[in-house]
Structures are given as C-alpha cells and as structure tokens.
C-alpha cells in the first residue's frame, strides 16, 4: 500500500532554514551540511529497499497562490499564508507492506539534524493513500 509522509514549515522556518535570522536561531552551514547528508542517506535507503515512490520539497510559502470561487469567478490570492502559519513543506510517497512500516520510516525523520528548538517543534504526518474509489453508500 502507498502512504504519504508529510512535513511542515512556516515562512519563518524557511527563512531560518536558509540562514536568515527570524526570531529563532538561523541554520548554520554545518546544520545544512548535516541535513543534506542525512536526507541523502535516508532517501538512498528507501530507494534501495524499493519503498520510495517519490519525494519532493516545496518552495518557500511566499510563492503560493490560492484559488477559490468568488461570486462565481475563480479568484487568485497571492501569498495567502501568514508568516508563522505552518504549511506543507515536503513529502515522500512510500510503498510498503503496512501502516506500521510507513510510520517506522516516518519516525526515522525525527533523527534529522538541525537546531534544537526546531527539532523539538517539528512533526511529520503519515497518511494512507486512497487508491480505490471509496464505496458510496446510500
């Protein structure tokens, strides 16, 4: 079965992440290098075990558009998020034997290096992917 593992971040987190101070400690070059090394081996192991379907990181939240219907017309809002609002930052799609295995994979992400405050706050979600039409009752 396929599962999606999701990570989150706010505009502020993205800025700290790219080395810009924004209230909290900014990431250093060493933090970055450690992160890149961790992600590389994490993804490699998933690829080797045949469980990785795909993984993507999303651009910083200021580059976002929200589209919704307003008075019958689709209207776009540029940059719809507040600075501290946590939004989807990246995801993995994995294909593995069970929800527990997918959770085990997700749990390994808590080993990801980074500034302590950020590590303490971070979380990942795991969600099964619905590959079949849901049964419509009624």
């Amino acid at each position: 079965m396929k599962y999606m593992i999701l990570t989150y971040g706010s505009q502020q987190d993205y800025e700290a992440f790219t080395g810009r101070p924004s209230g909290e400690r900014a990431w250093t070059k060493e933090d970055w290098t450690a992160l890149a090394k961790f992600m590389k081996s994490f993804n490699q192991e998933l690829a080797d075990s045949g469980e990785l379907v795909e993984t993507r990181g999303l651009a910083t939240p200021v580059h976002s558009r929200r589209v919704r219907l307003q008075e019958g017309v689709p209207v776009v809002t540029d940059g719809p998020y507040a600075e501290s609002e946590e939004v989807l930052a990246g995801y993995w799609v994995v294909e593995c034997e069970s929800f527990d295995r997918a959770t085990e994979i997700a749990a390994r992400l808590t080993d990801c290096p980074g500034p302590e405050a950020e590590r303490a706050r971070a979380y990942v979600d795991v969600r099964p992917i619905d590959e079949h039409q849901p049964d419509f009752e009624g």
């Binding site: 200021v62 689709p74 209207v75 776009v76 809002t77 540029d78 940059g79």
Partner: protein, 408 residues
Amino acid sequence: MLDAETEDLLRRLTPQVLGAVTRGYGHFALAEDATQEALLAAARQWPRDGVPDDPKGWLIVVAARRLTDLLRAEQARRRREEVVARWTPAAIEPAPAGDRPAEVDDTLLVVFMCCHPSLSVTSQIALTLRAVGGLTVAEIARALLTSEETVTRRITRAKRSIRDSGVPFARPAGEASRLDAVLRVLYLIFNEGYAGTSGTELLRPALAEEAIRLTRTLHSLLPDHREATGLLALMLLVHARHRARSAADGSLVPMAEQDRDLWDRTAIEEGVDLITEALPQGPTGPYQLQAAIAAVHDEAPTAEATDWPQIVALYGVLLGLDDGPVVALNHAVAVSMVDGPDAGLTLLGELEADRRMATNRRFHAVRAHLLEQRGDRVAARRAYETAAGLATNTEQQRYLQERIKRLK
C-alpha cells in the same frame, strides 16, 4: 569591470532570465527588479570568480532567490496594511507545440509585455530598454537625454499598469497588431538615437546600435515576419551613413554632400541582402518600402547618380500606406529631383492645407530649399526663417541659420 564579451552575454541573457523567472513564479514587475539585481550580482562576482559554467542557470537561481526576498517584503507590507492581492486568472491559450526553443519564446514574451498597449509610448521605450536591452536606469537616462528620476518613474508606472491589468505572461491574443506595436517601439528607439529632438548631440549612435541589436533579436525570433526584416534592413541602411552625417565641428551634413567613402559598406550589404530577400515575397509594408528607398540611396556611388525615378515610385507606393507628413514631404523632394523644383513646389502647395504641415520644420525647410533652387531668394529666406523658428535641435538650428545668412 566587465569585459565587453561578458557584458554582451549578460545583456543577451537579460530577457531570457526575466522570462524564465516570470514564467516559473509570476510577478513580472518584481521579477524585473530581481533580474536587475541578479545582473548586478553577476557584474560584481563574475570578474572575481569567473563566469559560471551555466551563466543563464546561475542568473535564474539568483534572480529567483531575490524574487523570494522581494515578495516576502511586499507581502509583509501588505499584511501590515491589511491588503490582499487578489486577481482573476485570464484564460491562457496553450502555446503552440514546441517548435521554438523555450528561451526564444521567453524573450519574445518579455518584448510583448514591455510593449503592452496599456502602457504609454515613453514607458514602453524605457521598459523595453531595461527589461529587453538590459540597460541600467542611468544608461537609459543618458541615452534618452532625460533624468534618472524620469526613467525610474516611467518604468515604475509601466510595471504598475502591467501588474494591475493582470496581463498573463503568454503569447498575446491579436499577436499581429501587438507586433506592430513592438516594431514601432524599436523604430522610435532607433530614431531617438539617430537624431534627438533636443540637446546638442545630434547623433547618439549607442542608442541606434541598441535598437539595431534588439531588432536583430526580434528578426532572429521571427525570421518570416517581413516587416521585422524590413525594419532591421532600414536601420542598417540608415545607420550605415552615420559617420558621414556630421562634420568635424559636429554640424549636420546633408546626404548630397556626404563623403560616401565613410559609409559602412558591410552594413549596407547586409541591409540590401535583407530587403532584397523580403520584398518580393508579396504585399509589402512601410518598413520594407523605407528600407528599399534607403537602399537606393546607399547604392548610388555619387549623389548625382541616385536613381530618383525609382525613389519617386517607391514613395508613391508608401504614400498609399502612410499619408503622414514625413512621407509626403520626402515624396515631394524626390519628385523635385526628377522633374525640377517647380514640380516639388506644386506638391508642397497641395500639402499646405494639411494642418500638420504649418508647424512642421521640415516642410518649411524643404520649401525654402526648392525656392532657393528656382532662384526665389526672398521667399526662400522667409521659409528658412519659419523653419528655424520651429527647429528644436541646435544642429538643425545652426544649419538653417547658415542658409539664411547665405541668402542675405
């Protein structure tokens, strides 16, 4: 300092980088600022660190990063002011299947954006020189003989109109008429460089050469667009004479008195080749006709050997497409060269009723010249004086005063 080759590369990449960033992230107005900042960063870093292996990719990455910063600042400001940027997506027609490489389309899209009909002509010119030509505000101000504040204002206003009108970054509907606007902007930039309307410097070859460079780019993007070909040919054929056009003291030399050895034979040859190829392909347009006329002049070994009947015929066709005062006047001059000053004066007499002629310096100068040729010195002097009263360029002023003195 950048070497000429790198500067050339940066300027050529400018519209491609702006196009790629706008296509990827939107926000044309901010993307334009971001692109300029990326160019500055390159001008600072490349001489020190060397040109990167993928200069365009480098510039796109840096510009996108700058765009993020600019967007963040803008969104923070908006949030403070509790304003939300909302817009309705315009229907974007899918681009025709990729028969052209992406960067080519991007340059063209940037050109269309800069010449959008919602912008004033002065804004179109300033924005085109910056976003397509890669010139700095200071360079544009120098080229247009205006202040940096004025240029900044024109560019800012242009970008605001683009943002507010929600123009999509895509091939425009009614591409043909939009292309006419693009050619007109390029033609105006060339003319502005060729003979300024004010100031003491008669020729500003740098601006004319920039117009040629941009038109060459357009021609390479649209090799089958015959008016674009015609415009490039026209510019080359006229600009070929620029070294002969002003004397050592800076005064204007009329074409009949120019030293033809100073004409640029390479430019003439290229212009003649272009127009020879474009003309026979069907119904013609005003740029092609003007290029054909310029070619007849350029190919005459001496002023006396000019094929005036041919020029009269070409102006006759041009008059059918453009009844403006410039064409009508040139037609009258050509007719006087074939049939004598009286024939020219008769045509001018017919034009006199046109309101646009009363305040046209050239109308009075041409009339003065023809009157002088037939020996009517008093009337000639009076006409030269009227022309001098209308001249704004100090060189033209000097030339006309010289004529007046000779008739006293």
